[in-house]
Amino acid sequence: MRNAAINAVIEKCAARNDIFILSGDAGLGVFDDFQKEYSDKFLNMGVAEQNMTGFAAGMSMTGYKVIMYNIIPFLLYRCYEQIRNDICYQKLPVVLIGIGSGITYAPQGMTHYSIEDLGIVQTLPNLVVFSPVDPVEARLAAQYAIDSDKPVYLRLAKRGEPVLHTCNTFDISLPQVIKNGSEVAILFHGSISGEVLKAANQLSMNNIDPMLISVPQIQPLNEDKIMEMLSGVRHVFCVEEHYLHCGLGSILQRIKVDRMAVWDLHLMGIPYRFIHEVKNIDAMRDSFGISSSSIFDNILRILEVKNG
């Protein structure tokens, strides 16, 4: 997914000469191809995130399309106030590419996880936010970001995520039906896609045929489209590699109340606490109930209760 996004940037460079990449001393090897072709459009800003963000805002004000690249906590948390005041308040079309979404970096430790970033971005008006599920969505989101006149945050996992989409072009600002189904819908985004897909396959083998909906654009969220897609659905599940209380699930909770939706809603994600456990990503997903088998078990259990 990371390479798909970067390749989209390189492709865009053929048509426009204003793109400039700033790295916060991250992404060794990621920009080799870009630097080969556009060596004068790349700067490693060192380990100085506040300066990097203000500097990006300044370059953007002179007309450059600036792309900032870093691991999410260092892109978004360390320099939150610069993102807020320098970029979002001034409505500058800077692209923030963050990698390591969710617990992608397990077992590197809590400092390197990004399981609250969607809570943080909800405090930043003007910021458009993408959490793609696969390389196809990552590529389209990167293209969207470069063409946008607003700041855009791309929340990427890392690499090696499976391709879910069969079509390469669609409106990335809208939720996407990955697989049709009835009665049950699973909404998801970001790095958890592979687990959701496996769980859905298991459910199919148990005569449950969930609709799978990816939500690449988290902010602003097209609520009308969500409501339209969920009309006729009875049970909605949201699965994300993110804190339960401030991610997509909590946004859906608000929508459900605001719109007086009739579907019931069940959230799967990471509980609100710091992660101290040392586990690889699979073991950690399992302990948080978001591995494929946990998702399958949870949905089956809830449907049995609901359907008596």
Binding site: F20, D40, M45, G46, A48, Q50, N51, T53, G54, F55, A56, A57, G58, M59, S60, M61, T62, G63, Y64, E81, Q82, N85, D86, Y89, Q90
Partner: protein
């Protein structure tokens, strides 16, 4: 005091009076610096190719609004809407509020780094536009300033000039006691900057400092100033970071600025 600076000061007192807000001492401190910039140093014509002035110490916004008004960049009605209900100008800078507000600021340690980015952008475009950023001495305690100081010299940004309004009074005491910058010249020199030290109320000295060649280095002007300068009972008094300009204070200040 030259007439341009005196007009800025009169308007600062006016704004502090109508707003009943703080920071009049901070604004008076940098009035001569803004006068030296807006009175002939900044290239403002054509507007689209203008030099950029960033007030990084955004709490001195009254000084910038006054300079923009005295320069004819904003209207009297705009100026007089400062901090009024449904007015245009807030107490800290919002770049969407009026012509000539280049950067939104108010939280310290932001404008300096934005300025570095702008200077780099202009340099990459081979533009001759120059970027000036005014920072406070209290503001210089921000880590972001020193991140930028480290980085600025690497890029040989000789189209960037920072000015420190060095009045040695910040929000809660003397800057030299809270977090001393001494030896400030050696600090900035060792970071690779061209350093000039001047009397921040001497327009001629400031203009000579702007004109001085920096040999491919970014420049920093250490401008020694007095907080509240120009109004005797406000000079070098910490309380005038906060005190309100009442009707009586207004009359006394305006009398001195005649």
């Amino acid at each position: 005091m030259d007439s341009f600076a005196k007009e800025i000061r009169k308007n600062i007192i006016h704004l502090a009076h109508i707003s009943k807000g703080p920071h009049v001492g901070s604004a008076l401190s940098c009035a001569d610096i803004l006068a030296s910039l807006y009175d002939g140093t900044l290239k403002l014509d054509p507007w689209d190719e203008r030099d950029i002035f960033i007030l990084s110490k955004g709490h001195a916004a009254m000084a910038l609004y006054s300079a923009l008004y005295v320069s004819g960049i904003i209207e009297k009605a705009t100026l007089d809407s400062y901090c009024q209900n449904n007015g245009l100008l807030p107490a800290h800078l919002d770049k969407f509020s009026a012509r000539g507000i280049e950067v939104s600021s108010g939280s310290l340690g932001h404008g300096f780094n934005i300025g570095l980015g702008m200077a780099y952008g202009f340099k990459k475009m081979r533009s001759s536009r120059h970027v000036y950023a005014l920072i406070g001495d209290g503001e210089s305690q921000e880590g972001s300033i020193w991140e930028g100081a480290l980085f600025g010299s690497r890029l040989k940004l000789d189209n960037f000039t920072a000015i420190i309004d060095f009045n040695n009074l910040q929000g809660y005491g003397r800057s030299c006691e809270i977090c001393s910058f001494s030896p400030i010249i050696e600090k900035w020199s060792s970071f690779g900057w061209h350093v000039v030290e001047v009397d921040g109320h001497d327009s001629g000295a400031l203009k000579r400092a702007y004109a001085e060649t920096s040999n491919e280095k970014p420049k920093i002007i250490i401008a020694h100033t007095v907080k509240g300068k120009g109004v005797s009972f406000m000079e070098d008094q910490l309380v005038w970071h906060y005190y309100i300009v009442t009707d009586e204070y207004r009359s006394m200040a305006m009398e001195e600025l005649k």
